[in-house]
């Protein structure tokens, strides 16, 4: 049952094949069995079983919501009231959040059972989950490899059958890239679709939450619950949230798909390229037409991103000063010592590096050349996409330049690590909805196909993904070691 989609699980819960308590206990057992994957920072055994019991009662009483009894995990970047929320950092090793993130409360209101908090790169800064203070997460497909990051714990947990689905956040690819590496489905909706209230900030103008699931249908279901206006987040859109599930089967006949050839330039691993090119045929079979589009400024995505994201992060991370919450150094001698030592001891190296770069690009004399220039390029990238969407409905391409790499392989090579997000970052800069779905394998490792839609048009990429999944079974493949179990 661990690999049933949420749609199937809901069906089973309704029919009484199993209860939420049974399902939840099953996942809790599996989490213990597979503790070496290190997917979770906190497992909420007691409260999860309690919530599952209530879910079963609610269902019996006829008060079931759209997700009643479904055990999901939250990336540990979402605040959960009274529960440790660490953002993968020592800085928050003792931080019991005093309130729920909007994402958390919406999913809870819909009936979901929170089973635990998943591991992640520290403050979401990483592409391999190796910067977590709580240790690396192992990829269930090959435990010598990384699951991707920063939502690595969520991706691995879904792939290993340790929850029905998980939440993630995506600042430069942090939902899509680990989804690709772990062979699952993940969507980063339009910037502003989902409230950021209670989601610990990395780079505010790029951060966006989204669901990580086994199928596009599940993603549609969860997105519908998570999305929508929130008076607590000024940047959250007031736009109506369509019924994503209903439009999943809208025929793809006549769908115009654009391919950006820049995405197939050198750097894309051959096996991955083959998978992506083959997946295009599936869409053609479904009636879509494929054409080439140009995004002239796409090559500047990485530079713009590695200015904007650290700059915003440098300010967002100033609140961690050891005064009101979180890590505080032992016996500070004076105020400067309190600030400097709490921050230097509490943050990991990658976080410190990005704070430093970010602060530098904002400093006097450099602002125009770096920050302002990056923000201008950001607009050019947005304009490129708008021009492309005047001609096509969705864009397709790879999610990552190669499948999951080995643990430690890139930890010493900062730039190589940064380049992992080369195909995903533009979606964040422009704020467009984008998702990754399993599209095949290269050297026995999952390869993700990226779909990018126009603003607020999550429905089109979800429908394309869903119908692709009706024709293929890549999303149903599970790691051999996991499949051996029941």
């Amino acid at each position: 049952m661990q690999y049933d989609s949420i749609a199937q699980q809901l069906d089973n819960l309704i029919r009484g094949t199993y209860s939420s308590v049974e399902l939840t206990r099953h996942y809790l057992d599996r989490i213990k069995q597979h503790a070496q994957l290190n997917c979770y920072i906190s497992v909420l055994e007691e409260s999860a079983l309690e919530a599952a019991q209530q879910a079963d009662q609610a269902r019996a009483a006829g008060n079931a919501g759209p997700l009643t009894g479904v055990p999901i995990a939250h990336k540990d970047i979402f605040c959960t009231q009274g529960v440790k929320t660490t953002a993968g950092s020592q800085m928050l090793y003792n931080y019991d959040a005093p309130f729920d993130a909007t994402v958390v409360s919406r999913l809870a209101t819909a009936g979901a059972v929170t089973i635990g908090k998943t591991n992640m790169d520290e403050f979401a800064m990483g592409s391999s989950n190796e910067t977590s203070y709580y240790g690396a997460v192992l990829n269930p497909w090959d435990t010598t490899r990384v699951p991707g990051g920063s939502s690595g714990g969520s991706a691995a947990a879904v792939a290993a059958g340790l929850c029905s689905a998980a939440t993630g956040t995506d600042t430069g690819g942090s939902i899509r890239q680990p989804a690709a590496h772990c062979g699952i489905t993940g969507i980063k909706p339009t910037y502003g679709r989902i409230s950021r209230w209670g989601m610990i900030a990395f780079a505010s103008s790029l951060d966006q939450a989204g669901p990580m699931t086994r199928t596009a249908e599940d993603a549609a279901l969860l997105l519908g619950v998570m999305a929508g206006e929130d008076p607590l987040d000024s940047t959250c859109l007031a736009a109506d949230v369509p019924n994503y599930v209903e439009s999943l089967n809208k025929p793809l006949d006549g769908l115009k798909i654009g391919i950006c050839e820049d995405f197939f330039a050198e750097g894309l691993e051959a096996g991955s390229e083959q998978v992506i090119r083959e997946s295009l045929r599936v869409f053609e079979d479904l009636g879509a037409t494929i054409s080439s589009v140009r995004l002239p400024h796409i090559e500047y995505s990485i530079p713009a991103y590695y200015v904007i994201a650290p700059a915003e992060a440098s300010a967002n991370l100033s609140r961690y000063d050891g005064v009101r919450f979180g890590y505080r150094c032992k016996e500070p001698t004076d105020l400067a010592d309190l600030f400097k030592r709490s921050r230097s001891e509490g943050f990991g190296d990658e976080v410190k590096r990005r704070i430093m770069v970010g602060a530098f690009t904002l400093s006097t004399g450099y602002y125009d050349a770096y920050y302002r220039q990056a923000q201008q390029i950001r607009r050019l990238i947005k304009d490129d996409f708008q021009a492309a969407f005047a001609e096509v409905d969705i864009l397709l391409g790879p999610t990552a330049p190669q499948p999951a790499f080995s643990l430690g392989e890139k930890t010493g090579d900062q730039v190589a690590m940064y380049l992992q997000d080369i195909y995903t970052i533009a979606g964040n800069l422009a704020g467009l909805p984008a998702m990754s779905i399993p599209a095949g394998f290269s050297s026995d490792l999952p390869v993700g196909l990226q779909l990018i839609g126009n603003y607020l048009d999550e429905a089109s990429i979800l429908a394309a993904a869903h119908q692709f999944q009706q024709r293929t079974d890549w999303h149903q493949r599970v790691p051999a070691s996991m499949a051996a179990e029941n």
Binding site: F78, C79, T85, A87, L92, Y95, A97, P98, F99, A101, R196, W197, G198, M199, I200, A201, A203, S204, S205, P231, L232, D233, S234, T235, A311, E312, S314, A315, L317, S318, R319, Y320, D321, V323, R324, F325, G326, L335, F339, A359, L362, S363, T364, Y367, Y371
Partner: protein, 477 residues
């Protein structure tokens, strides 16, 4: 060398709202520490700001009040620095696109003239919390109740040349924001705090000298003292061949001095950038018109009306209209005595003179405007002379009396206009001073004043001077 003092002022005005600028916490003064500090105010991980809709009309009203441009698109920025009472490590403020740009005010000076002070900008921002250094021996206590209180920071051009001008300007702004309902103006509670940028330059030079910024002065008296101290200090530094350090200083009222702030020694680089948690705020002309519709009459509009309705001089009108409370006071006086010109003269000279001398705020004038008006009415209906009126005003001022008429009666001050009573007295004085009579008849008509003076003296000033004048002239001719 002769030095010219150049001063620009930054005034932080707390806005009169119910809740904070970015959260739903109360901004009521005097609450127990940190009970009005919400998750947003504390800068807890995952919180986001949402702008209070009440702050915009207030900032716009101020902008209209100083004849400024109102930005149709304004935006917030982050100003980054570390301080324990700045919870997020940055202050949300408006750097690039402030809501109010330009404008000016005309302030009354002691010599009776008015001076125009240009205002550079006014922008919205959040207040910081308070650091309490005296409560504990080894620690500083942080109270974040004030963090997030909406502020309007009003930045002037360096147009002021003395501490007195600065105080006049600050008073003007204080009155204006109070009058417009932008702020409660409660200085004791920190609703208006000033940072003074002071520099000196040789007289005749057009270049600005190095300035110091004296921060957080929250009374007009301290503002004047702090600036005067700074002027003397900088002059000593410059005249002994030294250089003024560009630095932030604090005024210590106990020692009546300014000194460099140790905690902000390191060179600041605030790394401003657009606040990504907030979107630009876009307003239209209709919104501005709505704010304008709900505004009371502005000082500049008042001054124009005073000139046209009351036929006051330009300067009289501007001085009286400069402070809304003063303007209201003047209008009541004018209505009560039905003589706007007399009212204008007395309010400007007698009232302002006394306020100035005794350092009394316009809000605390000890004589009601009705009684002041009645006093002038008693001059005009010849009950008392102008000279006696000043004595009556003094008595009222010292609150020895609260009714003009009662005081006149009780002290028998009614002027004597009865020629039957005055004539014998005048005859006697003429008889007693033959020498002066002779001088007068020889053509030294100035001696007339001597006789009138004698009569006034004999009557303790109660005689109607105009009538005495006529009677003496008649009897001497």
């Amino acid at each position: 060398m002769e030095w010219e003092t150049v001063i620009g002022l930054e005034i932080h005005v707390q806005l009169r709202t119910q809740s904070k600028i970015f959260s739903g916490s109360s901004i009521a003064f005097g609450a127990a520490p940190n009970i009005q500090a919400s998750a947003v105010d504390l800068g807890l991980p995952g919180v986001l700001p949402v702008v209070n809709q009440a702050v915009y009309p207030k900032a716009i009203a101020f902008g209209l009040g100083i004849g400024a441009d109102i930005s149709l698109v304004s935006a917030f920025d982050r100003k980054n620095y570390f301080y324990p009472d700045l919870p997020k490590g940055y202050q949300i403020t408006q750097m690039d696109k402030p809501i109010v740009l330009g404008g000016s005010v005309e302030i009354p000076l002691d010599d009776g003239s008015v001076k125009t002070i240009q205002i550079t900008r006014a922008h919205l921002e959040e207040d910081a919390g308070k650091s309490l250094h005296e409560e504990f021996i080894d620690s500083t206590g942080i109270d974040l109740n004030r963090a997030g209180t909406p502020l309007l920071e009003i930045v002037s051009e360096p147009d002021m040349r003395s501490a007195k001008e600065v105080v006049s300007y600050a008073r003007y702004i204080h009155q204006l924001v109070t009058y417009l309902g932008v702020s409660d103006g409660n200085m004791a509670e920190g609703s208006l705090r000033c940072d003074a940028n002071v520099s000196l330059r040789p007289v005749g030079s057009s270049e600005l000298g190095t300035r110091t910024e004296t921060k957080n002065v929250n009374s007009f008296r301290f503002l004047e003292r702090a600036i005067n101290f700074e002027v003397v200090r900088q002059k000593e530094v410059l005249e002994s061949g030294g250089r003024v350090e560009q630095e932030t200083r604090l005024y210590d009222p106990d020692r009546d001095e300014t000194r460099p702030m140790r905690s902000k020694e390191t060179a600041m680089d605030y790394r401003y950038f657009p606040e990504p948690d907030l979107l630009p705020i876009v307003i239209d002309e209709a919104f501005i018109a709505e704010v304008k519709k709900n505004m009371p009459e502005l000082p500049r509009e008042k001054a124009e009306r005073f000139q046209s309705d009351y036929e006051l001089s330009n300067v009289d009108a501007k001085v009286l209209a400069s402070e809304p409370m003063l303007a209201d006071y003047f209008e009541t006086v004018a209505a009560t005595c039905s003589d706007p010109k007399l009212a204008a003269n007395w309010v400007r000279v007698e009232l302002l003179g006394r306020l100035n001398k005794d350092s009394i705020e316009t809000s605390d004038i000890p004589v009601s405007s009705e009684q002041f008006g009645l006093l002038l009415l008693r001059i005009n209906d010849q009950t008392i002379s102008g000279k006696i009126a000043k004595d009556v005003l003094d008595a009222l001022w010292k609150t020895e009396a609260d009714s003009v008429d009662d005081y006149i009666d009780a002290n028998n001050l009614k002027q004597v206009s009865d020629s039957g009573a005055l004539e014998p007295l005048i005859d006697k004085i003429i008889a007693d001073n033959p020498k002066q009579v002779e001088q007068y008849r020889e053509g030294k008509t100035k001696v007339l004043g001597f006789f009138v003076g004698q009569v006034m003296k004999e009557t303790s000033g109660k005689a109607n001077p105009k009538q005495v004048n006529e009677l003496v002239r008649k009897k001497l001719s």
